[in-house]
């Protein structure tokens, strides 16, 4: 399954994910034999180009966070049993190409600064025992040869860059609001001068008014630092706002991928259409428009339906959908959809 496409602007590849699989084995019985696996990510292909923001959308349990954690390569250290497959190639600015999927500690260390993450929960992502200066300064201590004073200066200028006061460096995370903490998280991710930042629902824990500020800040930073984002979210309207391209995930697979315009305005996959039709609209005249309601819940990734994962909730499902994984079809240039029957959705 290949869901790649050329972009109109820049075509330099930064991250190239091929056939990524992340399975968490499930043990049972007295002897703790493997009895199954949670197929959190089940074979996805994704390309991120330099300077671009790619939105990753899907409901809870679709595997989008796991993709993000696979990219920053923290799955193996956190869950030693995890089964990884496929490749995540990083094409760094200095010309190095490396598959970082499950890469060991020593060899990964050179690539750690290039790939950083902003976490969803601004409360648990900052160690409550450390001051802001320690939180942001620690990556610098590990990856640069800066002196203590130079590090301090960098920390303070980063704070300023994300819209916080320099004097906040001495404070502890519990003294900040959610939006401020998220800014600290962004400053930490920026500290190593990364090329790509995986933003895992960076605004979903924030108030709506603060969401806009943080999203705007991230867009500014992307311009200033030539960053690429993998922007993970379940809120389509924010993803549409920030992304150049959008990939829609369902049950560990990418079901549709295309430019933000293509996916949001002209969705083709039945699941994407349901998602888009569920976005609340500010215009009351639009209130009567038709919505596609999905029945039931997302199936458990431990026991996926055969063939197409979406067929149990799909309005146009056929008997043949249970047989084979859906073939990927090209709708137009740069817009592909993993459903052979998409033309029937009108």
């Amino acid at each position: 399954m290949s869901l790649t496409s050329p972009t109109p602007t820049r075509t330099e590849t930064l991250l190239s994910i091929r056939g990524l699989k992340v399975h968490f084995p499930v043990y049972g019985g007295v002897l703790r034999r493997k009895v199954g696996a949670v197929k959190a990510v089940d074979g996805i292909d994704l390309e991120v180009r330099r300077g671009e923001t790619i939105g990753l959308v899907g409901e809870s349990g679709s595997g989008k966070t796991t993709v993000g954690r696979a990219i920053i390569n923290v799955l193996k250290p956190m869950y030693p049993d995890v089964e990884l497959d496929g490749s995540i190639e990083v094409h760094s600015r200095d010309g190095l190409v490396q598959d970082v999927n499950g890469l060991g500690r020593a060899r990964m260390n050179a690539f750690r600064p290039k790939i950083q993450m902003v976490f969803q929960d601004p409360f648990s992502s900052l160690n409550p025992r450390m001051t802001v200066a320690q939180l942001i300064g620690r990556p610098l201590e590990l990856h640069t040869k800066l002196t203590r004073d130079e590090r301090r200066e960098r920390v303070e200028s980063l704070l300023e860059r994300v819209g916080l006061q320099r004097s906040y460096a001495e404070r502890f995370p519990h003294e900040f609001s959610g939006g401020q903490r998220q800014r600290i998280g962004i400053a930490r991710a920026l500290s190593t001068r990364p090329e790509i930042i995986v933003a895992d629902e960076p605004v979903s824990a924030l108030d709506v008014s603060v969401q806009a500020q943080v999203v705007n800040l991230m867009q500014e930073l992307a311009r200033d630092f030539d960053l690429s984002y993998v922007f993970i979210a379940h809120d389509l309207s924010i993803v549409y706002h920030i992304s150049d391209r959008i990939a829609v995930m369902y049950l560990g697979n990418v079901v549709e991928i295309g430019s933000a315009e293509q996916v949001y305005m002209r969705p083709r996959h039945p699941y994407t259409r349901a998602l888009v039709s569920a976005v609340p609209h500010p215009d009351p005249k639009q209130r009567g428009r038709q919505r596609i309601r999905l029945e039931g819940d997302i199936p458990t990734p431990m026991n996926k339906p055969s063939g197409c994962g979406f067929r149990t909730r799909c309005p146009i499902a056929k008997a043949s959908c249970a047989d084979l994984p859906p073939e990927v079809q090209t709708v137009e240039v740069g817009h592909t959809v993993a459903c052979p029957h998409w033309r029937e959705m009108q």
């Binding site: 703790r32 920053i72 923290v74 956190m78 950083q116 992502s125 900052l126 025992r129 502890f172």
Partner: protein
Amino acid sequence: MSDSPQKPLSVFQRRWKKFKTMKRGWYSFQFLLWSFLLSFFLPLLVGSRAIVAEYEGELVFPVLADLQIPFKESLFPVSSGFLDARDFGFDQRGLVDWRVFQEREHLSGSDNWALLPPYPFGRFESLLGGPTLRDGRAPHPPNHYHWCGTDDRGRDVFARLVYGYRTSLLFGLTVVVFSYAIGTFLGALFGYFGGRFDIVGQRLVEIWSSLPFLYTVIIVAALLRPNLWMLVVILALFSWVGISYYIRGEFLREKSRDYVAASISVGEGRLSIMFRHILPNALTPIISFAPFALVGAISSLVSLDFLGFGLPAPTPSWGELVNQGLSNIYEWHLVAFPLSAMFITLLLVVFVGEAVREAFDPKPFSRLR
């Protein structure tokens, strides 16, 4: 966020502040801390050796021999700093009796003098037949000179109690430090790495924890002559299991939090993640259980001494005194004083523990203040 002018406080600093507001625990802590520090200078306060003495124009400091590291006490019960009595105007070779020396020189009106500790009786010396005891039959009830009487060998009970306090606290604290160090380290490893290592490790820990402590000590005591260090090691090896379970649980919980993922993603080393990032967030069980572990360790030493498997014979210990109280049950001072000393000490430690627990409790309980 309030723009308060004062310096931001870390989590620990806020808890420390709260701990200080718990008066009962705070004063108990102060008393235990200062009395323990003071106990390293005990020979200056309680003991039979003169602090400083002048004989024939020469100054001597006999107490120096006694101000050795207290841990040595159990290894070499009798101090090696030997001053020959014949050099100080006595007829016979032996240790100088500084009380006699002071009395004699005072009566003779010579220039020689000796400054004795305020409570001038040693913890090892038998005072039978001495001028401060009216008859020669030990144990003696308390009198003006011997505040807590003497034991069945005519040794001063007060001196043995205060030196026993030092031994007990020192023993308890080192056992807690060692056992918590082992328990924290292993618990952290099991909790952080998890998986098969954890499952196998936990079964081994269960096997280890089923070894009977007392029998092991009895066997060791039968083969070797136990000293304080050996007892510390044995007890620490048997008491780390409990805290390792708590630390393992804390690590299992903390490991899944995002700040751990964040520190992995910046390339932090594994040991650094475990002990710099996670451990400070997993200290609650360590700090809140430590005072009660101290109570347990002190009680263990008392029990071992009581049973006779503890410290070697002349070492002053509470358990040995309690044992004497049992054999001389009608000598009230041999029962009351050691037991009260132990009771009060343990009670103060429990007060500290109670205040620490309270300081770490996010839901305040105003009753305890």
